[in-house]
Symmetry: none
Subunit: 258 residues, 2 copies
């Protein structure tokens, strides 16, 4: 279902907003409004429950039609992230994941640097009640948590999008201040597009399935998530992925060349 709509450039060239399994059309509309309030326009929807287009979304968008009209649909989170170099996944709960965790303000500064370096960035939001699954989180580079009253931290979906988008807009509007791209994580090069990383995952996991490493089946999902989180943290460049592919091939190929 991807790629059927025309591409609408972001008003500020800002990050893409991706909603995974959004339920109420009204919430999608409020998200669109919050995005456009903050100069963002590129919305992606993964399996919207009530179908698309959605009249309730239009009513709630209060005129942010250009965001809804340009929204693109995807069947999987992985497909929705394929062309992005850097992905932030929002989470309300502290998770036992080995991953970089930032506030919206820190994310905004990082994204500004990334975009200045020619990367594409995305903000990933889960469904209204459940939030993102661990599998979806494992596709992101970084976790993003809004600092809120710990005794009452449950934020409406559109409110969460608003806070993150608002912080982006505050940073995007500061033309004077220079925020250098985070170079050290990728040695000066941009992280590879997520599609390349997914392709490495597929290769690695196929090889490990072949050897019986991802066994028994009940443990496989957790092992796969663990590995993916580990390599996501590396934020590999295209060159890094070539190296890693080379290593996997070499280790699988039992033949000695010497």
């Amino acid at each position: 279902m991807a790629g059927t709509n025309k591409t609408v450039p972001s008003v500020t060239g800002g990050p893409v907003v991706i909603l995974v399994d959004p339920q109420l059309g009204e919430n999608i509309g409020m998200v669109a409004r919050a995005m456009l309030n903050c100069g963002l326009s590129e919305l992606r929807l993964v399996r919207p429950r009530d179908g698309w287009p959605n009249e309730a979304a239009v009513a709630a968008a209060a005129g942010a039609d250009l965001v809804l009209d340009g929204a693109r649909l995807y069947d999987t989170t992985a497909a929705a992230l394929a062309d992005l170099n850097r992905v932030y996944a929002t989470t309300a709960r502290a998770r036992d994941l080995v991953k970089h965790l930032v506030t919206p303000r820190q994310a905004a500064a990082e994204i500004r640097g990334a975009l200045a370096a020619g990367e594409r960035a995305g903000l990933l939001f889960g469904p209204e009640r459940a939030g993102l699954t661990n599998d979806d989180l494992s596709l992101a580079d970084t976790l993003l948590a809004v600092p809120l009253n710990p005794a009452f931290a449950s934020l409406n979906l559109a409110m969460a999008v608003l806070i993150v988008s608002y912080e982006w807009f505050q940073v995007a509007g500061e033309t004077a201040r220079e925020i250098p791209p985070r170079r050290r994580e990728s040695g000066g090069q941009a992280p590879a597009a997520k599609a390349e990383l997914m392709s490495f995952f597929a290769r690695l996991e196929a090889a490990l399935d072949e050897t019986g490493f991802l066994y028994p089946p009940a443990k496989r999902p957790g092992m796969v998530r663990n590995q993916r989180n580990l390599f996501q943290r590396l934020a590999p460049t295209d060159q890094d992925l070539r190296t890693l592919h080379g290593i996997v091939s070499a280790l699988r190929g039992a033949k000695r060349r010497s």
Copy 2:
């Protein structure tokens, strides 16, 4: 109607939120939720259109009952502000008023200083469509405008309250924002001792020598450096190294377990 309800102290001792002529109960409920998300609890209502208490407000508050239960009613804006030392009036439009104009971030910092000096502060919001009247604005010390996309700046009432409250909470809860930079690379766990990392390198490189990957000899040093830099950048924890050892072992062991 003022003063009939019991006083509820603010969770953070923060500013009071005053809604003038709010229309939909649902919006009042969403305001209560946004306030409590950000540690604010003292709500005042001037002439709520649909009366008070309001069932739609309770439903939309999503559990922020303590804010609604403690809300106080007033007949005039002046009465609602009577005990406050410093009042910020939100406005979307640039008005022809000779008044101090600040952003929510600036307001939060100012309010923090005012409260520390023993003052009481309030945030004044107008009705959903019209916003505050000039008469109401004239009761405030300072105008507050949220920096937003000038082409689409109309913010839902609860969204406006959220942004201002959120900025307050960021200033009030400075400790919540502190995320030490070293921790983020390993998600709270310490990177493994370098000896463990070296041991992994030795293992990986021996395996790759065996397969003939690090060949020809003239290129070996550069290839090894490249790989080592890649895994150094990951700053692997002990658990990460166990995972990586497992992967290498599995890829080398050609035997299928299944």
